[in-house]
């Protein structure tokens, strides 16, 4: 237990060196809101903790080429307070702001939420729907991968042991584009999603959907990018026919587990309802952004 060591490197390369050179399990620390709980419960027993907080750029939000670059360890609270980001990607921001209480918000990061690889992580469906990419640094340099390709299963990611995420990119928006995220929990706050639904759409001048991405969380081992849901929306003005197709496609995509938070049937039903409601919000927001 006391064999655990802690390092706070000042550069990306130094961090990679520490990760590569660790004698046992090495864990990257962003906000620590997952990692500390797991350390305490003994679910993870690393030999080294690499705290990223001193790495330049790891915390902060920049507007680049009309899109956004979000440092991997940027807290939910900072994301929530960024007015420009909230205007363009309201779904990503509302999803991030659902993570935990105010105390957790002040620490929790997008990278931690993603790399903890819980199927119920709130920001992940929203980031996937938004078309976000992760920039991963490793000994061979940097690579950029779509967020949906980072998590491979509960608690597992496609990152090598000497890699970590340095930032996320959110692309420049076409006009009349917006996103929305809704989650279902039994309590009003401070709870883990039973189902999460992220919807991102672009409309034409007539209000017809020209592009869509829909992602569902907590209904399968990883967050899903559901092409059939997107297809249900494209070409529609979100009439009842499109909503019904979306609802059906969402339910079809679900492979949930049965647990105390919700039965399989219940989760499937809720996924359909949330997809409908999130789509309605995204359409309304997109129409308002002309």
């Amino acid at each position: 237990m006391s064999s655990l060591s802690y390092a706070a490197p000042a550069t990306v390369d130094e961090a990679i060196g520490l990760l590569a050179g660790a004698s046992g399990l090495a864990k990257v620390l962003s906000g620590g809101t997952d990692l500390l709980v797991q350390l305490r419960s003994g679910r993870t027993r690393p030999a080294l903790i690499v705290d990223t907080k001193k790495i330049p750029g790891i915390i902060g939000i920049r507007e680049v080429d009309g899109g956004f670059v979000i440092g991997a360890a940027t807290s939910g609270a900072m994301i929530g307070e960024h007015a420009a980001l909230a205007a363009v990607y309201p779904g990503v921001v509302e999803a991030t702001n659902l993570i935990g209480s105010t105390q957790v918000q002040g620490r929790a990061s997008l990278a931690g939420n993603l790399c903890n690889a819980s199927p119920a992580a709130d920001s992940v469906p929203a980031m996937i729907a938004a078309g976000a990419t992760a920039v991963i640094a490793g000994p061979k340099g940097r690579r950029t991968v779509p967020v949906e390709q980072v998590v491979t299963g509960p608690g597992r990611t496609s990152l090598a042991r000497d890699e970590f995420i340095v930032e996320f990119h959110l692309p420049k928006r076409a006009p009349r584009s917006a996103d929305a995220y809704l989650r279902f929990i039994p309590r009003t706050e401070m709870d883990i999603a039973v189902v999460g639904a992220g919807v991102n759409v672009t409309l034409d001048a007539a209000g017809v959907c020209t592009a869509a991405r829909v992602s569902l969380g907590a209904v399968a081992p990883t967050a899903l990018l559901v092409a059939d849901c997107a297809a249900a929306l494209v070409g529609s003005k979100l009439d009842e026919h499109a909503l019904a197709k979306l609802d059906l496609a969402a339910r079809d995509a679900c492979k949930p587990i049965d647990d105390k938070r919700g039965t399989i049937d219940f989760r499937i039903k809720v996924a359909g309802v949330l997809a409908r409601r999130a789509a309605a919000i995204a359409f309304e927001r997109a129409a308002a952004r002309s």
Binding site: S2, R40, D51, G100
Partner: protein, 897 residues
């Protein structure tokens, strides 16, 4: 590593292990125990501090991260020794009950107010949403934050005054000592129980020598063979059945099989799997399916049965115009006090001293004496402040193992439960399986009521008999019914021991009974209010046990008081439902009654009040304040009886050496029973002072400058305590009071006088149901409570709010599943966002036996809430849920039927 940081404005340096958390750094290294640990997992917020001005959970921050930071804790709030404005607002509003959540609440609110000096209610809820409170129902906390700039008006008088809690300031500054804050002066050992992962299993312990050799800090391993005295304990004098350490057989998950004794760090580092225990799992006896007998003394796994029978139900049903039947089910419910059980024991000569959180010091003392095999006089129980109890701290927790270890090793031994251990090892609310039927004539008058309830009492008896006896008396609800048959059985299973939890089975029964009232009303075309009012027990009514109620029975008054609100809620629901959509609203009403004190059993309280040679007047109260405010209530009542302002009294509370037995803090009995003892003690001291001064009963007593002035008309007599001879306890003048509520035993048919006093209430709920998702939001609760006389309206309202929050949890979200919900993110309790606006109406019709008319409210607050919410859901969606919690999937399933 060495850390440098600013703590409450001062630079500090500390040595910390890199794996250490900020919470442990503050508490264990820097000695600031105001920051509390409720879960160590980010779920409860009790550890909230400010890090560079922003609220964080100290348990989620690596101490290493605090390097160079500015940390502010509750100890840094008071200004120049005086409470700051926020603390004063908390005190004024009664926002701290037990106080364990208070430091976290204060720090979260401090963060908010620094950014938004005049927040809205929604902003307060948002900012404080990460801190859980199990006592207050949050409403007074919100009021306090919104009123941070408000004035603190002076409080006059004793009885009926909104006196700030006498122990309030300590809870607001972080000075209060809870179970985990009290440390022995000498070096101490820590004990860690190894608990069964199986619900039912045989086990053998292996050779501990390798484990001891591998960990030099591990001193020894305690097993059942080491126990010096009784090997089992239990609430009732006969039928003690719960092993201190299991001996080859475990009957529930979480049962201790052995215990490691050593230094804290060593114990924490030993993986569970390294302790040599070989398990042989056995089939689990469940509530649903039963199974082979678990105890030789309980054939058929029936621990005990209860019965109340009057008249002939068949006649009543035959004569009825309407009949309703229902079957309901409830699960285990966890107390979820924010303070996990903690304390320490140390051997003092041939005696034992135990410092721990408890609701019942005297029962603990006697039980510990049995376990150690010594007389009770050699055990001293010193209760710490209790961070919430609700019945759960009526059973022993850390005491047996800590005491045995301290007894054997001659060293102080500390034991602190983690959240998971607290949930796995402590008692629960009894699951119930109820079948009930009720009938009424065409005018709505009840003609018959039958009820059978099976209660899952789990592996050991605990308070199971209390539930089995209390429920039949209350099951028909607060209504006059001529023909009644109510039966109960407490059944053993391999579930966690079910014990005492606010209401002792009555809340489960009320869910069935109050549904039946609505079903009958619907059949007869009556308003739910009317059928209740027609049948309400009041002065002169006869109960199902044949007891004639006196002037204190005020349900009719509660119903009359709530009527306009009820009508408004119904109107609001039907107006809302005129619009189409997935949202549906409904209004629900429920009543309850609750017998104060033990059922048909002597349960006396004794109090002493006295004046020392220095002229200081002290109330010695053995009543343990678990947050509900009995410390303050006793002072108010004794002061009233003595005829002095409450500020004139000091309080010594709840140590088995320095105070008399005031019974346990349960059954809503402290205000009524101990309150009467305090009143009698105050009156006795007053009589003694008047006698010495030769003054008449109208004389005024004043305590000042170490002297006692007795003023009568324009004659004044001064008594000088310094000139009087002190007795063995250092008192020169004393008054003693004893009260035991007059009850009689119940006969074979459950007839008799089980309680000397009953409290009544009517509550109404307005809910909104999302019919596509099945979610239920409670929008408003109105609660009219018969409290006899409100000794302190602020505290009474606080009890009602807190009870309602727990009732809401029972109705909508709480169900403990052994092994699956042993934390506060899988076991959900209401957060600040779940508890709606609550309007309390205090109906004050003095009880002839109560101290100045007062009666208890602790449990009554909870009983009616879940039934009112369930009735409101039925009103909203036209379908009735018969299983709680009414989770969204169950609501959808009910809609689909």
């Amino acid at each position: 590593m060495t850390l440098r940081l600013r703590l409450n404005g001062r630079p500090v340096q500390a040595q910390a292990d890199p794996a250490m958390r900020l919470s442990d750094l503050l508490r264990d290294v820097l000695g600031l125990t105001g920051t509390k640990i409720g879960c160590n997992a980010g779920d409860c917020g009790a550890c909230t501090v400010l890090l560079d001005g922003r609220q964080v959970c100290a348990c989620l921050v690596p101490a290493a991260r605090a390097e160079g930071c500015d940390i502010r804790t509750v100890e840094g709030l008071a200004e120049g020794g005086a409470l700051n404005a926020l603390q004063a607002a908390f005190l004024r509003h009664g926002a701290a009950q037990c106080g364990i959540c208070t430091p976290g609440m204060l720090m979260a609110a401090t963060d908010l107010l620094a950014r938004l000096p005049t927040p809205t209610e929604a902003q307060v809820q948002d900012a404080l949403g990460g801190v859980l409170c199990r006592c207050t129902g949050y409403r007074k906390i919100i009021d306090a934050v919104l009123d941070v700039a408000g004035p603190s008006p002076p409080v006059a008088g004793a009885m009926g005054a909104r006196l700030p809690k006498v122990d309030g300031p300590a809870k607001l500054t972080g000075a209060e000592r809870f179970g985990a804050d009290a440390l022995p002066d000498e070096a101490f050992l820590t004990i860690r129980a190894i608990r069964s992962p199986h619900a039912h299993a045989r086990f053998t312990l292996g050779d501990f020598a390798p484990l001891l050799a591998a960990h030099p800090g591990l001193l020894r391993v305690l097993t059942a063979a080491d126990l010096p005295g009784a090997r089992v304990f239990g609430i009732y004098p006969t039928g003690k059945d719960q092993p201190v350490l299991a001996d080859g057989l475990v009957r529930h998950r979480g049962e201790p099989v052995c215990a490691l004794l050593g230094d804290a760090a060593t114990l924490a580092g030993i993986p569970e799997g390294d302790v040599p225990v070989a398990w042989e799992p056995l089939p689990e006896v469940t509530f649903a399916a039963g199974g082979p007998d678990l105890h030789a003394h309980a054939p058929g796994n029936v621990l005990c049965r209860g019965l109340v029978a009057r008249g002939d139900p068949a006649t009543g049903f035959a004569a009825a115009a309407a009949r309703a039947d229902i079957a309901t089910a409830t699960g285990f419910v966890e107390h979820a006090y924010i303070e996990p059980e903690a304390g320490y024991a140390r051997r003092v000569g041939d005696g034992m001293e135990v410092v721990a959180c408890t609701q019942t010091p005297y029962m603990d003392r006697d039980e510990i004496a049995l376990i150690l095999g010594i007389p009770p006089e050699r055990v001293r129980v010193i209760p710490t402040a209790v961070g919430g109890g609700f019945g759960g701290k009526l059973d022993l927790s850390i005491q047996p193992l800590a005491c045995v270890a301290a007894w054997l090793t001659l060293r102080p031994v500390r034991m602190v439960y983690g959240r998971g251990e607290s949930m796995a090892a402590s008692t629960k609310r009894h699951p119930a399986r109820i079948a009930a039927a009720a009938a009424a004539d065409a005018g709505g008058r009840l003609t018959a009521f039958t009820f059978h309830g099976d209660f899952d009492t789990g592996a050991y008896a605990s308070w199971g008999p209390t539930v089995a006896n209390r429920v039949p008396v209350h099951a028909m609800g607060p209504y006059a019914v001529p023909h009644v048959r109510c039966t109960t059985a407490a059944l053993h299973t391999n579930g966690p021991p079910a014990g005492a939890f606010r209401g002792f089975g009555v809340p489960q029964a009320a869910i069935a009974g109050e549904a039946l009232m609505d079903m009958l009303a619907a059949q007869l075309g009556l308003d739910p209010w009317d059928i209740r009012r027609i049948n309400a027990l009041g002065e002169g009514s006869t109960t199902a046990t044949g007891q004639m109620l006196g002037a204190g029975a005020a349900l009719p008054e509660c119903l009359d008081a709530i009527r306009p609100r009820w009508q408004a809620l119904r109107q609001e629901a039907s107006d809302f439902n005129r619009q189409a959509g997935v949202l549906r609203r409904g209004a629900g009403l429920a009543c309850m009654w609750y017998g104060i004190g033990n059922t048909s059993m002597s349960n006396p309280s004794e109090m002493v009040i006295g004046i020392g040679a220095d002229g200081r007047c002290t109330l010695f109260s053995g009543a343990v304040d678990i947050g509900q405010g009995s410390n303050t209530i006793m002072v108010q009542i004794a002061a009233e009886a003595l005829g002095v302002p409450p500020e004139a009294l000091n309080l010594v509370s709840g140590d088995t050496k320095t105070t008399r037995d005031a019974g346990k803090t349960s059954a809503s009995r402290q205000s009524f029973v101990s309150g009467n003892a305090a009143r009698l003690a105050g009156a006795a001291l007053r009589a003694e002072i008047l006698r010495r001064a030769n003054a008449g009963p109208e004389a005024m007593i004043m305590l000042h400058d170490g002297r006692i002035s007795v003023v009568s008309g324009d004659a004044a007599t001064i008594l000088d305590p310094a000139a009087m001879a002190p007795d063995a306890e250092g008192l020169v003048l004393r008054g003693e009071g004893r009260f035991d509520p007059p009850t009689t035993a119940l006969d074979a048919h459950g007839q008799g006088i089980p309680y000397a006093c009953y409290a009544f209430a009517a509550q109404a709920a307005l809910v909104e149901v999302d019919t596509a998702l099945g979610t239920v939001r409670v929008l408003r609760i109105v609660a009219a409570h018969d409290v006899g006389r409100a000794v302190n309206p602020t505290l009474v309202e606080g009890q009602i709010h807190g009870g309602i929050a727990q009732g809401l949890g029972l109705a909508l979200m709480e169900e403990y599943l052994p092994g699956r919900t042993d934390n506060l993110h899988d076991y959900l309790i209401p957060t600040i966002g779940d508890v709606p606006e609550i309007e309390t109406i205090l109906v004050e019709r003095p009880d002839p036996l109560g101290p100045y008319g007062a009666k208890g409210v602790g449990e009554p607050a909870l009983v009616a809430t879940a039934p009112a919410i369930l009735n409101a859901i039925a009103d909203a969606i036209g379908a009735r849920l018969t299983r709680v919690p009414a989770t969204p999937d169950r609501v959808l399933a009910a809609l689909a039927r």
